[in-house]
Amino acid sequence: MRNLIIFLRRYFNFFLFLLLEVICIVLVFRNNNFQKTAYLNSANNVSGKLYDRYNNVQYYFHLKATNDSLVSENARLHNLLRSSFDSMLTSNTVVTDTIRLYSDDTLHRVVGTQLRRYLYREAKVINNSVNRPVNYITIHRGRLQGIRPNMGVISPTGVVGMVRSVSDNYAVVLSMLAKSSGSATSNFGVSARLIKGKETGTVYWDGANPGYAILRDIPRSVKVQKGDTVITSGFSSLFPENIPVGYIDEISVSDKSSTAFSIRIKLATNFYNLQYVYVIDNLLKDEQQQLEDSIYSLTK
């Protein structure tokens, strides 16, 4: 016993070192569990508020770019309004509008027999990184404003990522810029399809350049061209269909025997100057989930 104590005292520093490193490693791997609400991250009170202050200053320098993107989006939405469609006033022409009308309140659900499926909430980006292997975005909206983990996030121009953890007033978004094969953190791939041929594939970020990503699983029989648009497929519950992911930039075949292209796409979202994002609430997700769970419990 005495020898043991002497031994421990002699190597006290080394054991303390081991203990601290084990604590760190445990933190790393515990935090990497997907969707676990972590308290020690940039959504907590201290760092959230500091980032908020910082963003207040930095926001002014991006006003011009932000305005531009908001104006262009306004223009796009104006084009969807019923008032901007010209109806031919002949009695036997049916004018089919391209949008369906819902009541203006944001409290979702039923209008007539139509269900609202997606609800968009805007959120201010207060922190963003692009130069790490796994990047996160902090937004100023949280649990109290209806944000929950697992919601999709888009920008005015394209896909951004998914909500990973929330606090009362802030949320941390896992950006699409998360290197898939890297750490145990995540394999974040977005299910995407070509706008022309409707073939589906998956978009990953390869960690090289924040402006580009890789589209996999497109068979070689498909004709693809530089500049083609890649959109979301709607297969996952995160994103609705037809949201731009990127534009084809370079087409290559990794080895001659492979049956699929590996396509480099230019991402539709400019991650360098994100200012506002939309968080997508899939209102029918719970219903679908419950149905699937009930089937699962029956078969078990």
Binding site: E21, L27, N31, N41, Y54, S129
Partner: protein
Amino acid sequence: MSILLRNIIRFVLLLLLQVFVLNKILVHQLVSLEMYMLFILLLPFNIPRPAVMLLGLLMGLSLDMFMNTMGIHAFACVFMAYLRPFIINILSPQGGFETNMKTPSMISMGVSQFVTYISILVVLHHMALFTLEVFGFGNFGYLLMKIVFSSIASLILIVLYELLFFSKK
């Protein structure tokens, strides 16, 4: 200014500098600017070793909190803090550094000694940090290049910081 106060100020200053300035600068995917570990490097010579490690943990965790990289920086920082006394021992002349020079600096250690001390520890820190961040040796070339380029960038920053702020006391 007392040593304690000076170090507290340095802690806050380096943390803010890292979070709000250096993390916002994009040079290249391979170059990430890290300077926060200078706090550990500039702690006084005679501080007990457990204290260095605990301060390393504190610094690392504070930064991790801002960057959503729970534990990664803390790991690297504790690793560096543990090795710091060994490096100082190897570099110190017979009988240790002069006792009135309490903190490592270009004056107290000499320029070449100081730069060696900084570079060894910064490289070790970056090795631990990026190995854990990239997690795995699958892409070894990428990891190696990232360590080399980021170390060079960090060293330049640290030497500039020293030249700007060193005092003749």
